[in-house]
């Protein structure tokens, strides 16, 4: 197969793009909160959704919104990281006759067995660990973040025991560290 055998949707997002969207959206929420608080102080009518709320309740309302945004962004970051790892896997596996390194060869073998139905946790990440043992810690951290992804993606119906407190910036740093430590150019996944 040639390198053109796999074409991504082009809709995948880079880490920085997601982060910029997160910051802009959080800023918009903060501005809206300020508008409502100003309405409360200066007796200006705002959306009836907030009618009767005290300052503390307005703060709690927007705090919940920001927490929710952070969860959605965390999911988006982990999902985008998975997409980049899978795209990288497919590109390497379908590289054709271009000179191959060890991980390309491993992914090609894997692709012959599993094709696109390869497991991120047990196969792609394990292969990276096997070929580049210096990435083990970063991969371990990302595996932890995958548990957060599973919990969020499945509707949060069970009480999670993550072992550490995840938030959007931690998830972002875990993903970025993974791409930074790989000995190949992953700037396309970051920027």
């Amino acid at each position: 197969m040639s390198s053109s055998a796999f074409a991504s949707s082009g809709e995948e997002l880079s880490l920085i793009r997601i982060w910029e969207w997160y910051e802009e959206t959080e800023q918009a929420i903060n501005l809206y909160q300020q508008e409502v608080i100003n309405g409360l102080i200066f007796d200006k009518r705002v959306s009836e959704t907030f009618s009767g709320m005290t300052r503390k309740e307005v703060k709690q309302y927007f705090s919940a919104h920001k927490k929710e945004l952070e969860q959605v962004v965390s999911l988006d970051i982990i999902a985008a990281t998975e997409a980049s790892l899978r795209i990288d896997y497919l590109r390497r596996a379908l590289r054709g006759k271009i000179k191959k390194n060890k991980i390309d060869k491993k992914f090609q073998e894997l692709y012959h067995q599993k094709g696109t139905r390869v497991s991120l946790r047990d196969e792609i990440l394990e292969t990276w660990k096997e070929v580049h043992p210096n990435c083990t810690d970063a991969i371990g951290d990302f595996r932890g973040a995958l548990n957060v992804r599973d919990w969020l993606a499945h509707g949060r119906y069970w009480t999670p025991r993550f072992g550490r407190k995840y938030n959007a910036i931690l998830v972002f740093n875990i993903s970025k560290k993974l791409f930074d430590i790989f000995p190949y150019d992953f700037s396309w996944a970051i920027n």
């Binding site: 409360l40 102080i41 009836e48 907030f50 009618s51 009767g52 709320m53 307005v58």
Partner: protein, 152 residues
């Protein structure tokens, strides 16, 4: 800009608010609310069907010093309904008193009438759908039914 100038400018930019006058109006409105409710229930109180009592609570509304306000407690047998003032600095209203029963809570909002601009108490059924009713004896009765236990 140095710290002093920055903070002085901040303060100057803000229009002054007479919190004390607002507070007096709010406390007066709360007392009027209680007097109205007492009026509606006086004959039942005389018959010992309901018992009304007051206690004092302290409100801390962030922009002014903490102050005391009365809370009305309505006792019907073993079941109580509290009228708990939540504050005068609330969104789209000049004050709020929560009507707290065993089976729910309703908000009483002090809102200015769109036509007359006069303050009046309304029962907020759903703020999301802008659904509220002026507080009358009939709407008060329905509100009590809603917040008190249904199976007794």
């Amino acid at each position: 800009m140095n710290l002093d100038t920055f903070l002085r400018q901040k303060k100057q930019q803000q229009p002054p608010i007479d919190w004390e006058t607002k507070k007096q109006k709010w406390l007066l409105s709360v007392n009027e609310l209680y007097a109205t409710i007492e009026g509606w229930l006086s004959h039942l109180s005389n018959e010992h069907i309901v018992k009304m009592s007051y206690n004092t609570i302290t409100l801390d509304e962030y922009y002014l010093n903490p102050y005391s306000v009365r809370q009305l407690n309505l006792l019907v047998g073993y079941e109580s309904v509290q009228f708990e003032p939540k504050g005068m600095i609330v969104v789209n209203a000049a004050g709020r008193v929560d009507m707290i029963g065993d089976d729910g809570t309703l908000k009483l909002l002090l809102r200015s009438d769109d036509e007359t601009d006069k303050l009046q108490w309304v029962i907020a059924v759903s703020t999301v759908h802008s659904l509220w009713f002026p507080l009358t004896k009939a709407s008060f009765s329905e509100a009590l039914e809603q917040v008190m236990q249904k199976n007794v």
